[in-house]
Symmetry: D2
Subunit: 395 residues, 4 copies
């Protein structure tokens, strides 16, 4: 075993960290002003990132990315995750990152040319329409949205929500049933749907934790009414929807977890700074209080343990494939999400009323990253699967 990080990677991470600290964290107060306000500011930062050679760490070099191995990429996500605007500025933001991965792996040359290329350049945004309001998201076999083949077209009808970042996106990839009679996991397909065509109803940006958001900072409820797209807009083969969705999730969970650990790192840093700077009485600082010390120590241990485990899961995936890594990836999903919630909660509490405000990013993470225990499968579903795998390995 070897836990060392190469000097080259350390240099890369240090440069990225410096950019985050000097260029992005000072921009955070602008976030509250809304997406349309902050978007041009972020575009300018993206140009700087491109010049620094730090653009798209998650993409292969052939489409303009850095082509990092998985562990190094994980470490990059940890750095970018320290600010809510990090992933976007570096071109590694969900849901575009996942869409780019599957377009790269499953897209036809034409699809890649039309959709992957501008996405990888940061010229457009995209979204991913899978979750439905009426069915359990953890069970995709319950999907009700449908596409029917009509000549050279697919005609789509359906109802989706939590279509994140729909507002302002150029296209979505929609997961829809194309063959009701097929075997459970071959009923659905993925279809690329441009968003400037007839029949797409933007019902609303869903109000989440008190605010509907806008632009990239939003989660839409949408309906497809007889939306007609060319047959060649299908991604991969008919019936490959689940297969592609699974591909999208494996590395995605590593990225999420490393991003969460970046949030944890920042939250811990904010906690420590608040503890060192805040006088409680008679020259005694928060940092001198044992309860605060307990939180710092518990945070430190939980973060360190989860981080080692996540990097190991990345290593397993890299060396033995996602199937071999599936138990590890299931575990990091719920384990890291739980730690994220606890670490942010402790940091918020240490800030007192300031923690409730948007003067730090803690309130944003406390409220919006609550979703980490839900999206990409709730904790409870992952725990059941991991338990079955553990039990199965004994048999």
């Amino acid at each position: 075993m070897d836990f060392s990080v190469s000097e080259q990677t350390q240099t890369l991470l240090a440069r990225t960290q410096r950019f985050v600290d000097e260029e992005l964290i000072p921009l955070e107060p602008e976030i509250q002003k809304g997406w349309w306000h902050i978007e041009p500011l972020l575009q300018a930062k993206r140009e700087q990132v491109k010049k620094l050679g730090l653009w798209a760490p998650n993409l292969p070099q052939d489409i303009g990315g850095m082509g990092l191995p998985l562990i190094d990429l994980g470490l990059m996500f940890e750095v970018m995750g320290q600010t809510p605007i990090g992933n976007y500025v570096f071109g590694a933001q969900a849901p575009d990152a996942g869409n780019m991965e599957i377009l790269h792996e499953f897209g036809s040359p034409e699809q890649q040319d039309s959709w992957l290329k501008p996405l990888a350049e940061g010229a457009i945004r995209s979204c991913f329409a899978m979750t439905e309001p009426q069915t359990a998201g953890s069970n995709p076999t319950l999907l009700t949205s449908r596409a029917v083949r009509d000549g050279d077209s697919w005609v789509i009808n359906g109802h989706k929500w939590f279509t994140s970042c729909f507002d302002g996106a150029a296209f979505t990839i929609a997961m829809v049933v194309t063959d009701d009679d097929a075997e459970r996991h071959q009923r659905a397909s993925m279809i690329i749907v441009p968003l400037d065509i007839p029949g797409i109803e933007h019902v609303r940006n869903i109000s989440i934790m008190g605010h509907a958001g806008e632009g990239y900072f939003s989660h839409a409820e949408i309906k497809f009414h007889d939306v007609r797209v060319p047959a060649e807009n299908m991604l991969g083969e008919p019936g490959q929807g689940f297969l592609i969705a699974q591909k999208r999730l494996g590395p995605g969970r590593i990225h999420h977890c490393m991003r969460w650990l970046g949030i944890c790192k920042r939250a811990q840093k904010l906690l420590c700074q608040q503890a060192l700077g805040r006088e409680v009485r008679n020259g005694e600082r928060l940092a001198d209080q044992q309860t605060i010390q307990n939180w710092i120590a518990e945070n430190a241990a939980e973060i360190e343990a989860a981080r080692c485990m996540t990097l190991k899961a990345a290593w397993t995936g890299d060396h033995y494939g996602w199937k071999a890594a599936r138990t590890e990836i299931g575990m990091i999903k719920y384990h890291c999400a739980g730690i994220l919630q606890r670490v942010v909660d402790r940091a918020l509490q240490a800030h007192g009323s300031l923690g409730m405000t948007d003067d730090t990013p803690l309130a944003h993470w406390y409220s919006h990253e609550r979703a980490s225990r839900i999206y990409d499968g709730p904790d409870e579903v992952h725990k059941q699967k991991v338990a079955q795998q553990v039990l199965g390995s004994l048999a």
Copy 2:
């Protein structure tokens, strides 16, 4: 011991519950549209409440309230707390409720006539300016805002935040230092400050959990620049600030806790309804899953235990006074706040992505009632005091 509730009180609670269920819960989707939108709707409901004889359960009868004993009042707060708009509609909303209590106990006849009367009628709103951004709220001896006597006036300078509901209020009660040389707990006084006079700067409605809010739904940062009020605007005697603040807090904590338990009750109900209504697979409902059952059972026990304890604290306060009840009141503060957070968290998780949205009140409570572990003294401070009292009782 006798845990029975009189038939008369049961009838009162049932009537209130019916009003909450039939008139207020259906209004909840309007909350997201903002205070200025919902205010007239709530005023109409207030008229209905007055006609039903349910107005101001927390006020003495001599100023138009119901004059309920403390335990019955607690039970009323539990019912009203089930919806975020409950307390306001019944005229028992913070911070007005606390202001009315201290105006009733410490106000001069003129002060009562000018400020208590319209407040008790629901004709105006008020706020309470105590917390400061630069000093630990848990230690009021660190206050920096000051009032200086100048002839027949007090001239106030200072910086406050978390002045809840300032936006649209007619007056505030400001806690300011009036005698730097006095003994620690006699340095500060409370002064009534109308908000339509010169020198009051509304710096901002603080953005909290992603949103600055407006009107009654807001928490202001404000500054006093040489604000001049008549000497007779002092509430009580000079130096009585802490004494009055303490009076304000005792029953206030009972009210908060019972309101929180009302939130818990509603969250548990939402959880159960979601569990019964949501199919997971093959006819199996969420309610059939053992994890969900565990949450329901843990919620039920934690709520029941906290409720019994809070009612006992109310009983102790009623029969033996707030000093005798101070350990019990300290305990319910952190104990109930912790349960509130856990119960709402479990209910949110059971709703999956729906729980993140404002289609239920869970996200609002999850984010905004996070403050329950902070306001009126953070958990950590209450725990220290309770521990000292417990240790002291052994000596």
Copy 3:
């Protein structure tokens, strides 16, 4: 509602507390020397208790007990529970207490004369043979031990364990299947089995937490090999086994919970004494450390809340019957057991290595009362039932 305790009851509790403090706690160091060593010492204390009129608080007056109402009895269990030898000395020890209850309610005059009378006088001990090693104790319909009618006798074969206090007992009440074909809950009966007759194999006192124990301090594994008892030894009617077992459990859970809360009270007292007496460095005591203060405050709140809830459950059972109280009784079982474990754990930790030793009763409670989350139905089963009742109450 009224949380007051009558002066008469307060006097009774104070007298009992004094006896516990002055006569029983000083005996605790003898416990490690084993049952046969301590038994005569305890018998002497029993005589004192009888003279003080404190014998058998749990029994009706017609069989020599104090005939206390359920809440007062609960408060007595809380006092007695503060020492591991309390219940025995006051004649309220499991499993005899439960056996006396069912003999009183279901026993024939002859059974009462032969078994209840000497038990109530403390002249003999008894045990209760229900749990079996091969079947889930939480599901009594899986019982395999059987009694077959043969003329005027029942002939019993079976295998039991956790037959607590078998070693030295005069008789057991055995729960055995008497009619395989009956409806699930009418298959089993209870039979009184003297232990000096042929066919009873004492396989072992089970080694529990490192020690097999002896006498009253033991839990036996036993086998019945064609054990023949007269037909009139059946308690109640054939097929009434479950009915009687349920009767035994309702008040029994109140008693357990109040005894656990007595343990918690003592553990908290030991924690506080250790905290006040232990110097950590430079005159700083454990009691000055915030972590210790947190534990004291959390203990205090959890104990207080659980105590109020348990007394309410007792009140509900007293006024509305055990069926009405079943959800409350289910809740106190797992809620109080969890608190017991946490409170004892914190107290042990505060004692450092001393906490691991038998120089305090904490190690005994830590190890042996771990069973509280298991006996009389594990937490998990109670939670499922409570959840079903809560969900059912919505329908």
Copy 4:
């Protein structure tokens, strides 16, 4: 980074695991019969171990050990830890292992010949007398036991407890004050004390968790009354006591943590086997219950994360020294101890009443490994130190 384990190490671990499974686990039922009963059985196993070349994985090759690098050694501790008799049989048992380390590093040739050699061969046992009953073990500067130089001798007086394995040991290493006036951390020294000389009082084997134990399975309280040893029995230089104690603790904590993770692994395996084998009702097994699945999944994640982190701490210590690794080593101490307690608790609960018995090793671990949160410094002290280091790294 590289998480792979060399083929050679994998082979070694597999051979060790096989020995544990086939030779040691079947011996576990003998443990309850006491040390003097089991000692000859274990000696026989030691001979087998020596023949297999698996003796003393923790010792350098020059004194007959395997000379493993720290990570490989950690992995060996994980395997040996799966049974309570593992470390002893492989010659890596506390406190001898620590004593051998310091004798190897600080002992004179004569000391090594007299004490290290027979210890390394398994011919004698030793103990370590540091903790005192009257002073906080976490603060060794409070030590009261003293050695005074008298001619060519040291004369020792003092009172120690938790001198583990004193009963039957050939010698102890005693930590005593030799210079009251020296700087705090140079007041104490370590002295080798043979146990067959006058003045050593064996007060008792302390009763721990209900049982005083015997032989290697015991923790003694002892007194030194004018115990006279030759001056050359001092280990290292006068005043080096703390320095040597620190050396003893660094790798020792890695070994403890890996041993605990071995316990966790076994507890998880027992849980899974019980879950798969136990029918609850109608063909439904424990393994089909979601609560049990949650426990398995939470165990799996917590164990995996803690394991990765502990191996990383070992790696850091190996490559950068113990000073560089001190924060990591502080963190694994409390983090792993907490996980150990939770994992064993869950496994015990899943076994129901069987979990309380000594028919599995779970009850032993539940009760005796409760000490893991106390020995070598309680959690609370480690957390304070880690917090200070984290805060310090920001400055």
